[in-house]
Protein backbone atom coordinates (compact mmCIF):
# COMPACT_ATOMS: atom_id res chain seq x y z
CA UNK A 1 0.00 0.00 0.00
CA UNK A 2 1.43 3.38 -0.96
CA UNK A 3 -0.36 6.72 -0.85
CA UNK A 4 2.59 8.73 -2.20
CA UNK A 5 2.59 10.29 -5.62
CA UNK A 6 5.58 9.47 -7.80
CA UNK A 7 8.26 12.12 -8.28
CA UNK A 8 7.02 12.61 -11.83
CA UNK A 9 3.44 13.17 -10.61
CA UNK A 10 4.54 15.58 -7.90
CA UNK A 11 6.69 17.61 -10.28
CA UNK A 12 3.95 17.89 -12.86
CA UNK A 13 1.40 18.78 -10.19
CA UNK A 14 3.71 21.55 -9.01
CA UNK A 15 4.22 22.83 -12.55
CA UNK A 16 0.48 22.88 -13.29
CA UNK A 17 -0.17 24.57 -9.95
CA UNK A 18 2.33 27.31 -10.80
CA UNK A 19 0.79 27.70 -14.22
CA UNK A 20 -2.71 27.90 -12.75
CA UNK A 21 -1.67 30.47 -10.14
CA UNK A 22 0.43 32.65 -12.43
CA UNK A 23 -1.30 32.43 -15.79
CA UNK A 24 -4.88 31.30 -15.25
CA UNK A 25 -6.06 32.82 -11.95
CA UNK A 26 -5.28 36.44 -12.88
CA UNK A 27 -7.53 36.30 -15.98
CA UNK A 28 -10.30 33.96 -14.83
CA UNK A 29 -12.74 36.70 -13.83
CA UNK A 30 -12.24 38.68 -17.00
CA UNK A 31 -12.75 35.60 -19.19
CA UNK A 32 -15.81 34.67 -17.19
CA UNK A 33 -17.32 38.12 -17.49
CA UNK A 34 -16.75 38.32 -21.22
CA UNK A 35 -17.69 34.69 -21.80
CA UNK A 36 -14.66 34.34 -24.03
CA UNK A 37 -12.96 31.10 -24.93
CA UNK A 38 -9.33 31.34 -23.71
CA UNK A 39 -7.41 30.48 -26.88
CA UNK A 40 -4.10 31.80 -25.58
CA UNK A 41 -4.23 29.84 -22.35
CA UNK A 42 -5.38 26.77 -24.23
CA UNK A 43 -2.30 26.98 -26.47
CA UNK A 44 0.04 27.37 -23.50
CA UNK A 45 -1.60 24.40 -21.81
CA UNK A 46 -1.22 22.37 -24.97
CA UNK A 47 2.53 23.03 -24.89
CA UNK A 48 2.65 21.56 -21.39
CA UNK A 49 0.90 18.45 -22.69
CA UNK A 50 -2.35 19.22 -20.85
CA UNK A 51 -4.61 18.46 -23.81
CA UNK A 52 -3.59 14.86 -24.34
CA UNK A 53 -2.23 13.61 -21.04
CA UNK A 54 -3.48 10.00 -21.10
CA UNK A 55 -3.00 9.53 -24.85
CA UNK A 56 0.22 7.66 -25.77
CA UNK A 57 3.06 9.66 -27.28
CA UNK A 58 2.76 7.89 -30.63
CA UNK A 59 -0.64 9.54 -31.02
CA UNK A 60 0.51 13.00 -30.04
CA UNK A 61 -0.20 12.72 -26.32
CA UNK A 62 1.97 12.57 -23.23
CA UNK A 63 1.55 8.95 -22.21
CA UNK A 64 0.63 9.90 -18.65
CA UNK A 65 -1.72 7.93 -16.45
CA UNK A 66 -5.15 8.98 -15.24
CA UNK A 67 -3.80 9.83 -11.78
CA UNK A 68 -1.58 12.47 -13.36
CA UNK A 69 -4.52 13.60 -15.47
CA UNK A 70 -6.76 13.93 -12.39
CA UNK A 71 -4.11 15.93 -10.54
CA UNK A 72 -3.78 18.29 -13.48
CA UNK A 73 -7.55 18.77 -13.92
CA UNK A 74 -7.78 19.55 -10.20
CA UNK A 75 -5.07 22.22 -10.33
CA UNK A 76 -6.48 23.94 -13.40
CA UNK A 77 -10.04 23.83 -12.01
CA UNK A 78 -8.91 25.38 -8.75
CA UNK A 79 -8.17 28.49 -10.81
CA UNK A 80 -10.87 28.15 -13.49
CA UNK A 81 -13.64 25.59 -13.74
CA UNK A 82 -14.28 26.65 -17.33
CA UNK A 83 -10.74 25.80 -18.32
CA UNK A 84 -10.92 22.61 -16.27
CA UNK A 85 -13.95 21.36 -18.19
CA UNK A 86 -12.47 22.49 -21.50
CA UNK A 87 -9.47 20.30 -20.82
CA UNK A 88 -11.40 17.41 -19.26
CA UNK A 89 -14.15 17.24 -21.89
CA UNK A 90 -11.62 17.45 -24.69
CA UNK A 91 -9.53 14.66 -23.21
CA UNK A 92 -12.22 12.20 -22.19
CA UNK A 93 -15.09 12.99 -24.53
CA UNK A 94 -13.06 14.30 -27.49
CA UNK A 95 -9.92 12.16 -27.60
CA UNK A 96 -10.81 8.92 -25.85
CA UNK A 97 -13.56 7.61 -28.17
CA UNK A 98 -11.15 7.82 -31.09
CA UNK A 99 -8.28 6.43 -29.06
CA UNK A 100 -10.34 3.53 -27.71
CA UNK A 101 -12.32 2.62 -30.80
CA UNK A 102 -10.75 4.32 -33.81
CA UNK A 103 -8.79 2.58 -36.56
CA UNK A 104 -5.12 3.42 -37.01
CA UNK A 105 -6.04 5.69 -39.88
CA UNK A 106 -8.69 7.52 -37.86
CA UNK A 107 -6.25 7.97 -35.00
CA UNK A 108 -3.61 9.44 -37.28
CA UNK A 109 -6.06 11.78 -38.92
CA UNK A 110 -8.10 12.99 -35.94
CA UNK A 111 -6.52 11.91 -32.67
CA UNK A 112 -2.96 13.16 -33.25
CA UNK A 113 -3.83 16.86 -33.77
CA UNK A 114 -6.27 16.69 -30.84
CA UNK A 115 -3.89 15.01 -28.41
CA UNK A 116 -1.22 17.63 -29.11
CA UNK A 117 -3.84 20.24 -28.26
CA UNK A 118 -3.64 21.92 -31.64
CA UNK A 119 -7.30 20.98 -32.20
CA UNK A 120 -10.22 20.33 -29.89
CA UNK A 121 -12.65 17.44 -29.91
CA UNK A 122 -16.19 16.96 -28.62
CA UNK A 123 -18.69 14.21 -27.98
CA UNK A 124 -22.36 14.61 -28.80
CA UNK A 125 -24.54 12.25 -26.82
CA UNK A 126 -27.24 14.41 -25.24
CA UNK A 127 -30.32 15.34 -27.25
CA UNK A 128 -33.33 17.46 -26.44
CA UNK A 129 -35.32 14.31 -25.71
CA UNK A 130 -32.48 12.05 -24.68
CA UNK A 131 -30.60 13.32 -21.62
CA UNK A 132 -30.23 10.91 -18.73
CA UNK A 133 -31.95 8.39 -20.95
CA UNK A 134 -29.17 8.52 -23.51
CA UNK A 135 -30.46 5.40 -25.23
CA UNK A 136 -33.48 7.39 -26.39
CA UNK A 137 -31.31 8.97 -29.08
CA UNK A 138 -33.30 10.09 -32.09
CA UNK A 139 -30.54 11.41 -34.30
CA UNK A 140 -30.45 9.06 -37.25
CA UNK A 141 -27.67 8.16 -39.67
CA UNK A 142 -28.64 6.33 -42.80
CA UNK A 143 -26.08 4.68 -45.04
CA UNK A 144 -26.60 5.81 -48.64
CA UNK A 145 -24.08 5.37 -51.46
CA UNK A 146 -21.13 4.95 -49.10
CA UNK A 147 -22.09 7.94 -46.96
CA UNK A 148 -23.84 8.41 -43.63
CA UNK A 149 -26.68 10.85 -44.02
CA UNK A 150 -27.27 12.37 -40.58
CA UNK A 151 -30.42 14.10 -39.33
CA UNK A 152 -31.16 15.23 -35.80
CA UNK A 153 -30.21 17.54 -32.95
CA UNK A 154 -27.67 17.35 -30.14
CA UNK A 155 -27.67 19.72 -27.20
CA UNK A 156 -25.25 21.05 -24.58
CA UNK A 157 -22.14 19.90 -26.47
CA UNK A 158 -18.90 21.13 -24.88
CA UNK A 159 -16.04 22.34 -27.12
CA UNK A 160 -18.20 21.91 -30.22
CA UNK A 161 -17.98 25.42 -31.64
CA UNK A 162 -14.51 26.85 -31.05
CA UNK A 163 -12.26 28.07 -33.87
CA UNK A 164 -10.09 25.02 -33.30
CA UNK A 165 -12.76 22.35 -32.94
CA UNK A 166 -11.92 19.61 -35.41
CA UNK A 167 -14.41 16.79 -34.92
CA UNK A 168 -17.51 15.85 -32.95
CA UNK A 169 -18.20 12.19 -32.34
CA UNK A 170 -21.95 11.69 -32.18
CA UNK A 171 -24.19 8.82 -31.24
CA UNK A 172 -26.78 8.06 -33.89
CA UNK A 173 -29.35 5.42 -34.67
CA UNK A 174 -28.02 3.51 -37.63
CA UNK A 175 -30.78 0.91 -37.88
CA UNK A 176 -32.75 -1.65 -35.91
CA UNK A 177 -31.71 -5.06 -34.67
CA UNK A 178 -34.52 -7.31 -33.50
CA UNK A 179 -36.84 -4.38 -32.89
CA UNK A 180 -34.18 -2.55 -30.82
CA UNK A 181 -32.37 0.60 -31.90
CA UNK A 182 -28.90 0.05 -33.26
CA UNK A 183 -26.75 2.93 -31.94
CA UNK A 184 -23.37 3.70 -33.47
CA UNK A 185 -20.73 6.40 -33.05
CA UNK A 186 -19.93 8.51 -36.08
CA UNK A 187 -17.26 11.17 -36.42
CA UNK A 188 -18.45 14.45 -37.91
CA UNK A 189 -15.75 16.98 -38.86
CA UNK A 190 -16.51 20.62 -38.05
CA UNK A 191 -17.66 22.50 -41.11
CA UNK A 192 -19.31 19.53 -42.82
CA UNK A 193 -22.23 20.85 -44.94
CA UNK A 194 -25.57 20.20 -43.26
CA UNK A 195 -24.02 20.48 -39.81
CA UNK A 196 -24.95 23.71 -38.00
CA UNK A 197 -23.58 25.00 -34.72
CA UNK A 198 -26.02 27.25 -32.86
CA UNK A 199 -24.88 30.34 -30.94
CA UNK A 200 -23.50 29.56 -27.48
CA UNK A 201 -25.90 28.99 -24.58
CA UNK A 202 -26.26 31.69 -21.94
CA UNK A 203 -25.16 29.50 -19.04
CA UNK A 204 -25.36 29.96 -15.27
CA UNK A 205 -21.64 29.24 -15.00
CA UNK A 206 -18.71 27.84 -16.97
CA UNK A 207 -18.88 31.07 -18.96
CA UNK A 208 -15.61 30.65 -20.78
CA UNK A 209 -16.28 27.03 -21.70
CA UNK A 210 -17.78 26.55 -25.16
CA UNK A 211 -21.22 24.88 -25.29
CA UNK A 212 -23.63 24.68 -28.24
CA UNK A 213 -26.66 23.01 -29.67
CA UNK A 214 -25.83 21.21 -32.91
CA UNK A 215 -28.19 20.35 -35.70
CA UNK A 216 -27.76 17.95 -38.59
CA UNK A 217 -29.81 18.22 -41.71
CA UNK A 218 -28.90 15.75 -44.44
CA UNK A 219 -25.33 16.09 -43.23
CA UNK A 220 -23.15 13.61 -45.14
CA UNK A 221 -19.91 12.03 -43.96
CA UNK A 222 -18.00 9.08 -45.49
CA UNK A 223 -18.96 5.56 -44.39
CA UNK A 224 -15.41 5.24 -43.00
CA UNK A 225 -16.27 7.81 -40.30
CA UNK A 226 -17.99 5.06 -38.33
CA UNK A 227 -16.10 4.54 -35.07
CA UNK A 228 -15.49 0.87 -34.26
CA UNK A 229 -18.28 -1.60 -34.97
CA UNK A 230 -21.73 -0.71 -36.18
CA UNK A 231 -24.14 -1.02 -33.24
CA UNK A 232 -21.39 -0.66 -30.62
CA UNK A 233 -22.32 2.94 -29.79
CA UNK A 234 -24.01 2.29 -26.45
CA UNK A 235 -21.19 0.14 -25.10
CA UNK A 236 -18.66 2.67 -26.33
CA UNK A 237 -20.14 5.75 -24.71
CA UNK A 238 -20.53 3.97 -21.37
CA UNK A 239 -16.80 3.29 -21.42
CA UNK A 240 -16.04 6.89 -22.38
CA UNK A 241 -18.29 8.24 -19.62
CA UNK A 242 -16.47 6.19 -16.97
CA UNK A 243 -13.32 8.14 -17.68
CA UNK A 244 -15.30 11.36 -18.04
CA UNK A 245 -16.53 10.89 -14.48
CA UNK A 246 -12.98 10.89 -13.17
CA UNK A 247 -12.52 14.21 -14.95
CA UNK A 248 -15.65 15.77 -13.41
CA UNK A 249 -14.68 14.37 -10.00
CA UNK A 250 -11.21 15.95 -10.27
CA UNK A 251 -12.80 19.20 -11.42
CA UNK A 252 -15.02 19.11 -8.34
CA UNK A 253 -12.04 18.54 -6.05
CA UNK A 254 -10.25 21.57 -7.48
CA UNK A 255 -13.30 23.77 -7.04
CA UNK A 256 -13.98 22.58 -3.49
CA UNK A 257 -10.33 23.22 -2.66
CA UNK A 258 -10.68 26.75 -4.02
CA UNK A 259 -13.76 27.24 -1.80
CA UNK A 260 -11.81 26.05 1.21
CA UNK A 261 -8.81 28.29 0.47
CA UNK A 262 -10.97 31.36 -0.07
CA UNK A 263 -13.10 30.65 2.98
CA UNK A 264 -10.18 30.20 5.36
CA UNK A 265 -8.55 33.36 4.07
CA UNK A 266 -11.74 35.33 4.49
CA UNK A 267 -12.61 33.83 7.89
CA UNK A 268 -9.23 34.98 9.19
CA UNK A 269 -9.45 38.52 7.89
CA UNK A 270 -13.11 39.52 8.22
CA UNK A 271 -13.72 41.09 11.59
CA UNK A 272 -17.20 41.33 13.12
CA UNK A 273 -18.09 41.80 16.78
CA UNK A 274 -14.44 42.64 17.42
CA UNK A 275 -12.88 39.40 16.20
CA UNK A 276 -12.25 37.49 12.99
CA UNK A 277 -15.41 35.61 12.03
CA UNK A 278 -13.33 32.39 11.90
CA UNK A 279 -13.20 32.46 15.72
CA UNK A 280 -16.86 31.47 15.72
CA UNK A 281 -17.40 27.75 15.48
CA UNK A 282 -20.37 28.41 13.24
CA UNK A 283 -17.80 29.51 10.66
CA UNK A 284 -14.72 27.44 11.55
CA UNK A 285 -16.69 24.18 11.60
CA UNK A 286 -17.91 24.88 8.07
CA UNK A 287 -14.26 25.14 7.04
CA UNK A 288 -13.41 21.91 8.87
CA UNK A 289 -16.25 20.12 7.10
CA UNK A 290 -15.02 21.46 3.77
CA UNK A 291 -11.52 20.21 4.52
CA UNK A 292 -12.88 16.74 5.27
CA UNK A 293 -14.93 16.63 2.10
CA UNK A 294 -12.11 17.89 -0.09
CA UNK A 295 -9.82 15.22 1.27
CA UNK A 296 -12.38 12.43 0.86
CA UNK A 297 -13.30 13.60 -2.63
CA UNK A 298 -9.67 13.69 -3.66
CA UNK A 299 -9.02 10.23 -2.25
CA UNK A 300 -12.03 8.78 -4.04
CA UNK A 301 -11.00 10.42 -7.31
CA UNK A 302 -7.39 9.34 -7.16
CA UNK A 303 -8.44 5.82 -6.23
CA UNK A 304 -10.67 5.54 -9.29
CA UNK A 305 -7.89 6.94 -11.48
CA UNK A 306 -5.36 4.60 -9.93
CA UNK A 307 -7.58 1.59 -10.61
CA UNK A 308 -7.85 2.71 -14.22
CA UNK A 309 -4.06 3.04 -14.43
CA UNK A 310 -3.75 -0.51 -13.09
CA UNK A 311 -6.03 -1.60 -15.96
CA UNK A 312 -8.59 -2.73 -13.42
CA UNK A 313 -12.31 -2.19 -13.46
CA UNK A 314 -13.00 1.32 -12.18
CA UNK A 315 -16.51 2.05 -13.32
CA UNK A 316 -18.07 1.84 -9.85
CA UNK A 317 -15.30 3.90 -8.19
CA UNK A 318 -15.53 6.56 -10.91
CA UNK A 319 -19.23 6.82 -10.25
CA UNK A 320 -18.71 7.03 -6.47
CA UNK A 321 -16.04 9.70 -6.90
CA UNK A 322 -18.14 11.75 -9.33
CA UNK A 323 -21.24 11.59 -7.14
CA UNK A 324 -19.51 12.41 -3.87
CA UNK A 325 -17.06 15.01 -5.17
CA UNK A 326 -19.65 16.94 -7.20
CA UNK A 327 -22.09 17.16 -4.31
CA UNK A 328 -19.26 18.02 -1.92
CA UNK A 329 -18.17 20.83 -4.25
CA UNK A 330 -21.70 22.22 -4.33
CA UNK A 331 -21.89 22.10 -0.53
CA UNK A 332 -18.47 23.73 -0.30
CA UNK A 333 -19.52 26.50 -2.68
CA UNK A 334 -22.67 27.12 -0.71
CA UNK A 335 -20.74 27.29 2.59
CA UNK A 336 -18.09 29.50 1.00
CA UNK A 337 -20.69 32.04 -0.09
CA UNK A 338 -22.31 31.88 3.35
CA UNK A 339 -18.96 32.52 5.03
CA UNK A 340 -18.43 35.55 2.75
CA UNK A 341 -21.87 36.94 3.60
CA UNK A 342 -23.00 39.62 1.17
CA UNK A 343 -19.52 39.81 -0.33
CA UNK A 344 -19.97 36.22 -1.49
CA UNK A 345 -22.98 37.24 -3.51
CA UNK A 346 -21.09 39.78 -5.61
CA UNK A 347 -18.58 39.09 -8.32
CA UNK A 348 -15.72 40.90 -6.52
CA UNK A 349 -14.98 37.66 -4.69
CA UNK A 350 -14.19 34.40 -6.53
CA UNK A 351 -16.61 32.31 -4.47
CA UNK A 352 -19.48 33.99 -6.29
CA UNK A 353 -18.26 32.59 -9.61
CA UNK A 354 -17.38 29.23 -8.06
CA UNK A 355 -20.93 28.95 -6.73
CA UNK A 356 -22.34 29.51 -10.24
CA UNK A 357 -19.76 27.13 -11.69
CA UNK A 358 -20.54 24.32 -9.24
CA UNK A 359 -24.14 23.36 -9.91
CA UNK A 360 -23.41 21.76 -13.28
CA UNK A 361 -21.08 19.28 -11.57
CA UNK A 362 -24.14 17.46 -10.24
CA UNK A 363 -25.69 17.41 -13.71
CA UNK A 364 -23.10 16.82 -16.44
CA UNK A 365 -21.70 13.38 -17.37
CA UNK A 366 -24.56 11.66 -15.56
CA UNK A 367 -26.65 13.50 -12.96
CA UNK A 368 -26.40 12.64 -9.27
CA UNK A 369 -29.61 10.67 -9.70
CA UNK A 370 -28.13 8.70 -12.57
CA UNK A 371 -25.04 7.91 -10.47
CA UNK A 372 -27.32 6.65 -7.72
CA UNK A 373 -29.23 4.55 -10.23
CA UNK A 374 -26.00 3.02 -11.51
CA UNK A 375 -24.64 2.40 -8.00
CA UNK A 376 -27.87 0.93 -6.64
CA UNK A 377 -28.12 -1.37 -9.64
CA UNK A 378 -24.64 -2.56 -8.74
CA UNK A 379 -26.07 -3.47 -5.33
CA UNK A 380 -28.64 -5.64 -7.06
CA UNK A 381 -31.48 -3.19 -6.39
Amino acid sequence: MDYDLTEEQRMFQQMVREFADNEVAPVTDELDEKGEFPYELQAKMAEMGLFGLPIPEEYGGSGAGLVTYALAVEEISRASASLGITMAAHTSLGCLPIFFFGSEEQKQEWLVPMATGEKLGAFGLTEPEAGSDAGATKTAAELKNGQWVINGTKCFITNSGTDITSVITITAVTGKIGGKKEISNIVVPAGTPGFTVSPPYRKMGWHSSDTHELSFSDCRVPESNLLGGRGDGFKQFLKVLDCGRIGVAALSVGMAQACLDESVKYAKSRVQFGQPIGRNQGISFKCADMLVEVELSRNATIKAAWLADQKRDYSREASIAKLFASEAAMRAASSAVQIHGGYGYVEDYPVCRIFRDSKILEIGEGTSEVQRIVLSRGLGL
Binding site: E8, M11, F12, F19, M48, G49, S269
Partner: protein
Protein backbone atom coordinates in the same frame (compact mmCIF):
# COMPACT_ATOMS: atom_id res chain seq x y z
CA UNK B 1 27.56 26.66 -27.33
CA UNK B 2 27.86 24.72 -24.09
CA UNK B 3 26.33 26.44 -21.12
CA UNK B 4 26.53 25.85 -17.40
CA UNK B 5 23.72 27.26 -15.32
CA UNK B 6 23.97 27.41 -11.53
CA UNK B 7 20.73 27.06 -9.60
CA UNK B 8 19.97 27.45 -5.92
CA UNK B 9 17.03 26.11 -3.99
CA UNK B 10 15.53 28.73 -1.68
CA UNK B 11 12.51 28.98 0.64
CA UNK B 12 9.35 30.07 -1.18
CA UNK B 13 8.95 33.62 0.06
CA UNK B 14 6.03 34.31 -2.28
CA UNK B 15 3.88 32.31 0.12
CA UNK B 16 2.38 34.91 2.49
CA UNK B 17 2.18 32.31 5.26
CA UNK B 18 5.95 31.79 5.29
CA UNK B 19 7.18 32.74 8.73
CA UNK B 20 10.88 33.02 9.41
CA UNK B 21 12.16 31.83 12.78
CA UNK B 22 15.83 31.77 13.81
CA UNK B 23 16.92 28.27 14.81
CA UNK B 24 18.78 27.18 17.96
CA UNK B 25 22.25 27.83 16.50
CA UNK B 26 21.42 31.47 15.83
CA UNK B 27 23.10 31.04 12.45
CA UNK B 28 20.27 29.46 10.57
CA UNK B 29 16.52 29.63 10.25
CA UNK B 30 14.00 26.96 11.03
CA UNK B 31 13.38 25.28 7.69
CA UNK B 32 10.73 22.83 8.83
CA UNK B 33 7.72 24.73 7.53
CA UNK B 34 9.20 26.12 4.35
CA UNK B 35 8.36 24.95 0.91
CA UNK B 36 11.28 25.28 -1.46
CA UNK B 37 11.55 26.64 -4.98
CA UNK B 38 14.21 27.59 -7.47
CA UNK B 39 15.72 31.02 -6.75
CA UNK B 40 13.84 33.59 -8.81
CA UNK B 41 16.77 34.97 -10.82
CA UNK B 42 18.11 31.44 -11.42
CA UNK B 43 14.81 30.57 -13.05
CA UNK B 44 15.47 33.31 -15.61
CA UNK B 45 19.06 32.08 -16.03
CA UNK B 46 17.77 28.57 -16.80
CA UNK B 47 15.34 29.95 -19.38
CA UNK B 48 18.07 32.08 -20.99
CA UNK B 49 20.36 29.05 -21.17
CA UNK B 50 17.68 26.92 -22.81
CA UNK B 51 16.75 29.68 -25.27
CA UNK B 52 20.41 29.99 -26.29
CA UNK B 53 20.71 26.22 -26.63
CA UNK B 54 17.57 26.07 -28.79
CA UNK B 55 18.99 28.76 -31.05
CA UNK B 56 22.65 27.82 -31.20
CA UNK B 57 22.84 24.16 -30.15
CA UNK B 58 25.15 22.75 -27.50
CA UNK B 59 24.44 21.35 -24.07
CA UNK B 60 23.18 22.84 -20.84
CA UNK B 61 24.63 21.55 -17.58
CA UNK B 62 22.82 22.42 -14.38
CA UNK B 63 24.95 22.86 -11.25
CA UNK B 64 23.65 23.07 -7.71
CA UNK B 65 25.01 22.96 -4.19
CA UNK B 66 22.42 21.33 -2.01
CA UNK B 67 20.99 18.27 -0.32
CA UNK B 68 19.10 15.51 -2.10
CA UNK B 69 15.89 17.51 -1.68
CA UNK B 70 17.37 20.07 -4.10
CA UNK B 71 16.95 17.47 -6.84
CA UNK B 72 13.47 18.88 -7.35
CA UNK B 73 14.76 22.20 -8.67
CA UNK B 74 17.49 20.44 -10.65
CA UNK B 75 15.00 18.03 -12.24
CA UNK B 76 12.70 20.90 -13.14
CA UNK B 77 15.58 22.66 -14.94
CA UNK B 78 16.33 19.38 -16.72
CA UNK B 79 12.63 19.02 -17.59
CA UNK B 80 12.68 22.42 -19.25
CA UNK B 81 15.62 21.46 -21.46
CA UNK B 82 18.79 21.01 -19.41
CA UNK B 83 20.90 18.01 -20.46
CA UNK B 84 22.75 16.89 -17.35
CA UNK B 85 23.41 18.04 -13.83
CA UNK B 86 25.95 18.13 -11.03
CA UNK B 87 24.93 18.43 -7.39
CA UNK B 88 27.58 19.26 -4.78
CA UNK B 89 26.57 17.72 -1.50
CA UNK B 90 28.64 17.36 1.64
CA UNK B 91 27.90 18.52 5.16
CA UNK B 92 31.31 20.23 5.13
CA UNK B 93 29.89 22.69 2.58
CA UNK B 94 27.57 24.28 5.17
CA UNK B 95 28.09 27.97 6.00
CA UNK B 96 30.05 28.63 2.79
CA UNK B 97 30.19 32.36 1.99
CA UNK B 98 29.96 33.56 -1.63
CA UNK B 99 33.68 32.94 -2.22
CA UNK B 100 33.62 29.39 -0.84
CA UNK B 101 30.40 28.80 -2.76
CA UNK B 102 32.05 30.01 -5.97
CA UNK B 103 35.04 27.78 -5.27
CA UNK B 104 32.74 24.78 -5.00
CA UNK B 105 30.96 25.69 -8.23
CA UNK B 106 34.30 26.14 -9.99
CA UNK B 107 35.39 22.70 -8.80
CA UNK B 108 32.29 21.19 -10.39
CA UNK B 109 33.29 22.72 -13.73
CA UNK B 110 36.70 21.15 -13.92
CA UNK B 111 35.40 18.25 -16.02
CA UNK B 112 32.75 20.21 -17.90
CA UNK B 113 33.37 21.84 -21.25
CA UNK B 114 31.71 25.21 -21.28
CA UNK B 115 31.60 28.45 -23.22
CA UNK B 116 29.29 30.30 -20.92
CA UNK B 117 28.40 30.09 -17.24
CA UNK B 118 25.24 31.66 -15.91
CA UNK B 119 24.07 32.30 -12.37
CA UNK B 120 21.21 34.35 -11.00
CA UNK B 121 22.27 37.86 -9.99
CA UNK B 122 20.94 37.56 -6.46
CA UNK B 123 19.60 34.83 -4.16
CA UNK B 124 16.33 35.68 -2.46
CA UNK B 125 17.39 34.07 0.82
CA UNK B 126 20.85 35.41 1.72
CA UNK B 127 20.94 38.23 -0.83
CA UNK B 128 24.74 38.34 -1.29
CA UNK B 129 24.66 38.88 -5.04
CA UNK B 130 28.33 37.99 -5.20
CA UNK B 131 28.63 34.35 -6.25
CA UNK B 132 28.63 34.95 -10.02
CA UNK B 133 31.36 37.56 -9.80
CA UNK B 134 33.48 35.47 -7.42
CA UNK B 135 33.07 32.52 -9.76
CA UNK B 136 34.31 34.54 -12.75
CA UNK B 137 37.31 35.61 -10.73
CA UNK B 138 38.16 32.03 -9.77
CA UNK B 139 37.70 30.79 -13.34
CA UNK B 140 39.79 33.71 -14.63
CA UNK B 141 37.13 34.84 -17.12
CA UNK B 142 35.23 38.11 -17.62
CA UNK B 143 31.79 38.65 -16.15
CA UNK B 144 28.73 40.81 -16.38
CA UNK B 145 26.26 41.17 -13.54
CA UNK B 146 22.56 42.07 -13.75
CA UNK B 147 22.53 40.84 -17.35
CA UNK B 148 19.07 41.02 -18.82
CA UNK B 149 19.54 40.33 -22.54
CA UNK B 150 22.04 37.97 -24.13
CA UNK B 151 22.85 37.82 -27.83
CA UNK B 152 25.47 35.70 -29.54
CA UNK B 153 27.72 37.83 -31.79
CA UNK B 154 29.99 34.96 -32.90
CA UNK B 155 31.56 31.94 -31.25
CA UNK B 156 33.92 34.19 -29.33
CA UNK B 157 31.70 37.03 -28.29
CA UNK B 158 28.37 37.89 -26.70
CA UNK B 159 26.44 41.11 -26.61
CA UNK B 160 24.98 41.55 -23.15
CA UNK B 161 22.42 44.11 -22.01
CA UNK B 162 22.64 45.16 -18.37
CA UNK B 163 19.67 46.83 -16.83
CA UNK B 164 20.46 49.99 -14.94
CA UNK B 165 18.43 52.43 -12.89
CA UNK B 166 15.31 53.67 -14.63
CA UNK B 167 15.25 50.77 -17.09
CA UNK B 168 18.30 52.05 -18.97
CA UNK B 169 19.92 49.21 -20.91
CA UNK B 170 23.71 49.24 -21.09
CA UNK B 171 25.03 47.16 -23.99
CA UNK B 172 28.40 45.42 -23.60
CA UNK B 173 30.43 43.06 -25.69
CA UNK B 174 32.01 40.33 -23.67
CA UNK B 175 34.45 37.61 -24.68
CA UNK B 176 33.67 33.95 -24.20
CA UNK B 177 34.09 32.07 -21.99
CA UNK B 178 32.51 34.30 -19.40
CA UNK B 179 30.14 34.37 -16.45
CA UNK B 180 26.81 36.17 -16.61
CA UNK B 181 24.81 36.88 -13.46
CA UNK B 182 21.28 37.05 -14.83
CA UNK B 183 18.68 39.57 -13.74
CA UNK B 184 14.97 38.71 -13.52
CA UNK B 185 12.53 39.79 -16.20
CA UNK B 186 14.62 39.38 -19.36
CA UNK B 187 12.63 36.42 -20.61
CA UNK B 188 9.51 34.45 -19.78
CA UNK B 189 10.45 31.27 -17.92
CA UNK B 190 8.58 28.36 -19.49
CA UNK B 191 6.50 25.73 -17.77
CA UNK B 192 7.87 22.22 -18.10
CA UNK B 193 5.75 19.83 -20.12
CA UNK B 194 4.78 16.40 -18.86
CA UNK B 195 7.05 14.81 -21.45
CA UNK B 196 9.93 17.05 -20.35
CA UNK B 197 9.43 15.94 -16.76
CA UNK B 198 9.38 12.30 -17.82
CA UNK B 199 12.60 12.80 -19.82
CA UNK B 200 14.23 14.56 -16.87
CA UNK B 201 13.91 11.49 -14.70
CA UNK B 202 16.20 9.68 -17.14
CA UNK B 203 18.90 12.37 -17.12
CA UNK B 204 21.93 12.02 -14.89
CA UNK B 205 22.50 14.06 -11.75
CA UNK B 206 26.14 13.55 -10.78
CA UNK B 207 26.68 13.97 -7.05
CA UNK B 208 30.04 15.33 -5.82
CA UNK B 209 31.18 15.24 -2.22
CA UNK B 210 34.24 16.99 -0.82
CA UNK B 211 36.62 14.29 -2.03
CA UNK B 212 35.18 14.47 -5.55
CA UNK B 213 35.69 18.25 -5.72
CA UNK B 214 39.42 17.83 -5.11
CA UNK B 215 39.23 20.68 -2.60
CA UNK B 216 40.52 20.49 0.93
CA UNK B 217 38.41 20.95 4.04
CA UNK B 218 39.81 24.41 4.72
CA UNK B 219 38.73 25.64 1.28
CA UNK B 220 35.03 25.04 1.85
CA UNK B 221 32.36 25.87 4.42
CA UNK B 222 33.12 28.35 7.14
CA UNK B 223 36.85 27.50 7.06
CA UNK B 224 37.08 28.41 3.40
CA UNK B 225 35.08 31.62 3.72
CA UNK B 226 36.40 35.15 3.84
CA UNK B 227 33.26 36.42 5.48
CA UNK B 228 31.91 34.55 8.45
CA UNK B 229 28.33 34.99 9.46
CA UNK B 230 28.06 35.16 13.20
CA UNK B 231 24.42 35.54 14.06
CA UNK B 232 20.95 36.32 12.80
CA UNK B 233 18.77 38.66 14.82
CA UNK B 234 15.30 40.06 14.49
CA UNK B 235 15.22 43.87 14.40
CA UNK B 236 13.63 45.38 17.45
CA UNK B 237 10.39 47.21 16.99
CA UNK B 238 11.26 50.89 17.10
CA UNK B 239 9.29 53.58 18.87
CA UNK B 240 8.82 55.65 15.74
CA UNK B 241 6.96 53.01 13.80
CA UNK B 242 3.21 52.82 14.05
CA UNK B 243 1.79 49.43 13.13
CA UNK B 244 -1.74 49.73 11.76
CA UNK B 245 -4.09 46.98 12.85
CA UNK B 246 -7.22 45.63 11.18
CA UNK B 247 -8.30 44.20 7.84
CA UNK B 248 -6.98 45.70 4.59
CA UNK B 249 -9.97 48.03 4.17
CA UNK B 250 -9.50 49.42 7.65
CA UNK B 251 -5.73 49.78 7.50
CA UNK B 252 -5.92 51.43 4.08
CA UNK B 253 -8.41 53.92 5.47
CA UNK B 254 -6.22 54.67 8.48
CA UNK B 255 -3.16 55.05 6.25
CA UNK B 256 -4.97 57.46 3.96
CA UNK B 257 -6.02 59.48 7.03
CA UNK B 258 -2.44 59.72 8.32
CA UNK B 259 -1.05 60.71 4.92
CA UNK B 260 -3.65 63.45 4.60
CA UNK B 261 -3.12 64.67 8.13
CA UNK B 262 0.63 65.03 7.57
CA UNK B 263 -0.02 66.83 4.30
CA UNK B 264 1.77 64.17 2.28
CA UNK B 265 -0.94 63.77 -0.34
Amino acid sequence: MNIVVCVKQVPDTSDPDTEVHIDGTGKGVDQGKFSFVINDADNFAVEEAILLKEKHGGEVTVVNIGPEAANQVIRMALAKGGDSAVRLDDEKFAYSDPVATARLLASALKDVEYDLVMTGCLATDDGYGAVGIALAQLLGVPHAAYAKTVEVVDDKKLKVGRELEGGLLEMNEIELPCVLAIQTGGNEPRYASFKGIREASKKEIKVMDLAATGLSEDQVGEAGSVAVMTQYSVPEVGELAEILEGDPAETAGKLAGILKEKGLV
